[in-house]
Amino acid sequence: MKLSYLNYKTLAGILLTIGLNTACTDDNEIDPEQVEDGRWITVAAARMGDNPGDGNGGTLIYSLSSEDAKDPTFSIAPFDNGFIVPSNRTARLQSSEDGNTIFNISYAGDTGGNYSKYTVEGGQDFVKTGTEISIAPYVGSAPRWIKLFDGDQTGSAVYVSAEAQFDDNGTPDDASDDVYLRHEATMGVVTLDLVNSSINEFQESSLKLTDEEEAQGYYISRIDMPTLNTAGDKLYIGARLSKVDPATGESDRNGEILGSKTIVLDYPSLLNPTVITSAVGHGNTNGYRSINSFEYNGSVYQANQGDPNGSHILKIDANNQYDDSYVFSLDDALGTQESYILAWRPASNGKAVVAYRDATSAEGVAGAQGFFALVDLEAKTAQKITDIPYEADFYLFQYQGFVANGSEIYLTQAPVGKNGNIYVVDTETGEVTKGAELVNVEGSHFIGAF
């Protein structure tokens, strides 16, 4: 009995080894030598949870060399062979500028708020490095965080909670003479040392709008996307406004959409927040899951969302104020309507790839169809990239990552539940190269390259 068990185990071992070897030689052979002149491209894939395209069934990552990423005959299957990032809901990933490290902060669940980093070693091999640390005590277990562009030194996460304040006119039991005053919005900002896995700084402060805006019931209800300015002395944080009806204190969904706002605070002290308002764009600046504003040539360029006139790219100058002379409407540049920037990324030359939807988007299985455009921040022009195939089920809402390598930008393309490819856009020439095949599974999609 004992003997046969041993035999069985040995046999299974042999079979498994053969199987694994065959699987490896088929499509994922990783040769570390290849990476010498290129870099790692880590592809992120979001598996379906309950609903096609919800991405709640786990985030998987898989890395390949930039050379393989450009090879259309190369094929990867992250859903079968990837590493599952430890996050209960779709992970918000960041990568080091050289692509050798992946940073993650777990979103929700028992480890929500835990920071971890992994050394990229190709394929499904991600080696955990550094110690475990959590930012949940400061910004909650579903933190909105982003890596600052300071040479992979710092990450920052933000949190806001708002509470209505009333004046009861000295009669606490009589509601008829109660008056809504304003919402007290408390912001928490934490900065994290990505290298040493420790907390740098945490500050809490109260956010104030103008008296007039507050009296109308406006308040900052969600914040996200901290970005460091060129001088490195201010942090910009994107904001979303909500409104209540001052007469009842109940949510008011029909109010006017105000000019886009950004919170500016001192860095690294995280003190003295002020709110700046754009005269060009309206709506939110807090983005969704991918970085929404970038530093370029001394200024910070920021996309807005939910703008009644279509998304704009806004400019914040070195004086930490919106530059209202910079008017870049995506609707106008593309000659379309209802444009909405879902994710974007400029290369070092000031030319960017923008993921967007607009009035021409079809209603796909998981929401509106997405497109890519090539954008020039200086010329304020935009061109839809037509060399990438778009299907109705091509969905970019959860899209998170582009790799900017010199003037090249790597992106992933695959409709929900269908195979796709990596594409490399040369922002200088506008040339698009179809790269490695991305093998998909039912109901799932790809959320970017890192």
């Binding site: 609903n51 069934g57 590493f83 430890p86 499904q124 910004v139 909670s161 907390i199 009842t248 109940e250």
Partner: protein, 802 residues
């Protein structure tokens, strides 16, 4: 209205019911010649349908016997069968009968044919288990633990005693499973009177109906129902017990009944008290303390904010076994509980301090039951409840605490307060929900003869709900909506038996009606006054089903049943929830499910002293129009509001099986297993539902020793094993992925041991239980650890005579 009620009640007392044949009750005790009681002997009143089994102490009771002379037949494998002439000529007739012990040689061919209540329910055709609480009530066993060992039932509890519980029947869980107390939806009683708090000693039996629910349990139970049947004995008795054990767990309960034999006047009361610190040890990836810079050190911690207390009782007075009523009782049910909350759905690195929930309920109740009302064969059963129940949540501490139970320090080494100023993210709360609840259940049945019966049932339930939060301003509280919900569920059932009871069938139809009213105060633009904006939604639907049972051989029975079951959308699904930014969708449709069961019951076969029974059931559930929230997209992410919608379909398919073995009435073995597949289909894509234990097994052993230490004493030894197969919190991943371990809930095996010692007088029983003997980590939910090894001692006292 009230006056009319008084008239009816008074009328019931006055109207002489002489026109009906007089009936009486026959009760007594069957004893061996040496005075020891004869347990489980069959008592049969010859030439009538009236029969019963004696209790463990030899007691029996037969009711509704028309006055006259009879032959009483007493049989059991333990005795020489005996026939005794008796006379029933008064309301209450008593006799004690002594019988001879059977000779060893005659034992082999005596069979027990009396069908117990349990067997009778279990052979009707439903996929049902009847859990008897008699033995468990003498031990330190919670009602939920008892249910968890039942085949096809999985209990998932978020911690120790008193923590939140979810029930799953054949894979369907949450609001698909309805729970009843004596046929009244448990939502009427509220959180303080539930399966966590009611001691098994108050319960006679628990019926678990899977997939197909009989007409008399009327609610929109999509996946099944659990009905808790409280004691309805009409014999004078008194029981009391106290139990103490690990984690400072103290439980006490007492119940008693006194019946004046002459008048039938009956007083019934039961009380319970449960307390536990639940300070059991936990460890794992989230149980850490943090130091300078946020550096984490894992520790083994004791839970420090998890205490639970529940207290309650029920008292009833009235008349039992009188001419005009088998039961007429009015009374009060009162209960309250307090539960500290250590963490949210998961154990995270930030445990809660001083967050707690409180609830209480005070309900008046009325019970009326009468067999053969006006005419023979017409039975009526009325159960009513009306009262108030309240629930509150308190979370006002803003300081952060660490798993060591002390104030946590931040990365600078200072104590700190959370940005959200409460323990749970979302801000401080002192919210209070007050509900006025009412429920009336009426059952009427008529037996044409012993083989044909029709039943009509109606359940009305209403909930008026009012929310407030002391931490919100009066203005905000004023403009908060209120929700009222009324439900009427009507059912008609036809039951038949044929071929000498080898064939049994049951056909039923159910009609559901639910009215939800939303009252939202707002300011009238013209008059500038506060007016109520009232909207209401009325949902109607119907369902139907059948059961068939056919005995291929006398002891091989096929059981099959099917139902089109409905779950009506609940108030938040219809009207949304302001706090969660969910808005109304009055056009939402009910969820519906086609449920099928096909099973066999084989046994009980007896061979020499060996008895065994095998039960098995194959089941399928096909759910349509599942209600859920839509996924977040760029189109709705900034809308701030979402609404519930009918989304997709789902299926659950599987098998369950149970094996019971008994030897010589003193050794018992019970083993069961359940395995199923649960899938949902949304927009054409099918997935396995994650976070579901698909495979579970339970086993238990019992052994009785007589005359240990003392004459006439009995020692029972118990062993129970629970097995839950590994499952993942995440949907099934690819064949070669890595990192899956993070989401896995590993295979769990937990074992309990216990004994109970019945003292010779039969009045005292002492029991001792060890749970989770090998101190294995057990989880129902990802990372939420349940108690480790624990010890409990319990003393029971009971008397049946005064």
């Amino acid at each position: 209205m009230f006056r009319n009620l008084v008239l009816i009640v008074v009328g019931m007392f006055i109207i002489p019911l002489e026109m009906y044949a007089q009936t009486g009750t026959l009760s007594g005790q069957i004893l061996f010649e040496d005075g020891q009681p004869v347990a489980y002997a069959t008592i049969n009143l010859a030439k009538t349908k009236n029969h019963t089994l004696t209790s463990e102490n030899g007691w029996f009771e037969l009711t509704n016997i028309p006055y006259g002379n009879y032959q009483l037949e007493i049989s059991s494998i333990e005795i020489d069968n005996k026939v005794q002439q008796i006379k029933v000529n008064s309301a209450s007739n008593k006799l004690n009968i002594k019988v001879k012990k059977a000779e060893a040689s005659v034992l082999s061919e005596v069979t027990v044919e009396g069908a117990s209540v349990k067997r009778e329910i279990e052979t009707k055709g439903f996929s049902v288990n009847v859990v008897e609480t008699k033995e468990a009530s003498l031990r330190s066993i919670q009602t939920n633990e008892l249910l968890n060992t039942t085949v096809g039932v999985k209990i998932r509890q978020n911690g120790g005693l008193g923590s939140n519980v979810s029930y799953s029947l054949n894979g369907l869980s949450g609001s698909s499973v309805r729970i009843f107390i004596d046929g009244i939806p448990i939502s009427t009683y509220g959180n303080s009177f539930n399966l966590n708090s009611i001691p098994p000693s108050m319960i006679k039996q628990i019926e678990v109906y899977k997939g197909v629910v009989p007409g008399h349990l009327s609610d929109d139970a999509l996946g099944g129902a659990i009905n808790i049947v409280l004691h309805k004995e009409t014999k004078t008795n008194f029981n009391a017990s106290v139990s103490y054990g690990s984690f400072n767990t103290f439980q006490a309960s007492a119940n008693g009944l006194y019946r004046f034999d002459d008048s039938g006047f009956t007083v019934k009361a039961s009380i319970f008290h449960n307390y536990s610190d639940n300070d059991y040890k936990v460890s794992g990836r989230s149980v850490v303390v943090t130091g300078l810079g946020g550096v984490q050190t894992p520790i083994t911690a004791r839970r420090f904010n998890d205490a639970y207390r529940s207290t309650g009782g029920m008292t009833q007075i009235g008349f039992t076994n009188v001419k005009w009523a088998d039961q007429f009782l009015i009374g009060v049910t009162g209960s309250s509980d307090y539960k500290e909350v250590q963490h949210g759905a998961f154990m995270t690195i930030i445990p809660y301090k001083d967050r707690f929930l409180e609830s209480d309920a005070m309900l008046g109740n009325l019970t009326y039951a009468k067999k053969d009302l006006f005419i023979k064969g017409l039975d009526i059963n009325i159960n009513g409840l009306y009262g108030k129940r309240n629930r509150s949540v308190s979370d006002t501490v803003s300081w952060a605490y660490s798993w060591n139970g002390e104030r946590a320090t931040d990365f600078r080494g200072n104590e700190y307060q959370y940005s959200w100023r409460s323990q749970q993210e979302g801000g401080p709360t002192l919210s209070q929900i007050n509900r006025t609840v009412g429920s009336v259940r009426t059952g009427l049945s008529y037996s044409f003869n012993k083989d044909h019966k029709i039943l009509f049932n109606h359940v009305y339930s209403s909930i008026d709900r009012e929310d407030s939060d002391a931490l919100r301003s009066v203005l905000e509280n004023t403009f908060r909506g209120t929700r009222d919900l009324t439900k009427n569920i009507l059912s008609a059932t036809y039951e038949m038996k044929a071929l000498d009871e080898r064939f049994k069938a049951n056909v039923f139809g159910k009609f559901y009606q639910q009215n939800t009213v939303n009252i939202d105060p707002e300011i009238d633009e013209e008059s500038n006054e506060i007016v109520d904006d009232i909207t209401s939604a009325n949902v109607k639907d119907n369902g139907y089903g059948f059961t068939l049972s056919y005995a291929l051989l006398p002891k091989v029975i096929i059981l099959t049943s099917a139902e089109k079951a409905i779950r009506l959308p609940n108030e938040s699904e219809v009207f949304g929830n302001d706090g969660d930014n969910v808005v109304a969708n009055p056009s939402i449709r009910p969820e519906l499910s086609h449920n099928y069961n096909l099973g066999f019951k084989i046994g009980t076969f007896s061979y020499k002293k060996h008895d065994f029974t095998i039960t098995t059931n194959f089941f399928a559930r096909n759910i349509k129009d599942r209600i859920g929230l839509p996924i977040e997209t760029s189109l709705n992410v900034n809308d701030e509001t979402i609404l519930y919608e009918n989304q997709g379909n789902g299926t659950s398919k599987g098998i369950e099986a149970q094996f019971e073995y008994e030897y010589n009435n003193n050794f018992g073995l019970n083993f069961n297993l359940s395995r199923f597949d649960l899938k949902v289909i949304n927009r054409g894509v099918e997935i396995d539902v994650p976070n579901t234990p698909f495979f579970t097994m339970n086993g238990s052993l019992r052994y009785s020793l007589k005359n240990l230490i003392q004459e006439d004493s009995r020692l029972n030894l118990f062993y129970t094993m629970y097995f839950t197969d590994e499952f993942s919190y995440l949907v099934r991943q690819g064949t070669n992925t890595v990192g899956d371990d993070f989401f896995k809930i590993p295979t769990q095996i937990s074992q309990d041991l216990g004994f109970s010692y019945v003292f010779p007088s039969n009045e005292f029983v002492v029991s001792f239980d060890v749970k989770n003997v090998f101190d294995k980590p057990v989880y129902d939910n990802l990372s939420v650890q349940k108690p480790g090894r624990a010890f409990y001692l319990k003393i029971n006292y009971r008397i049946n005579k005064f």
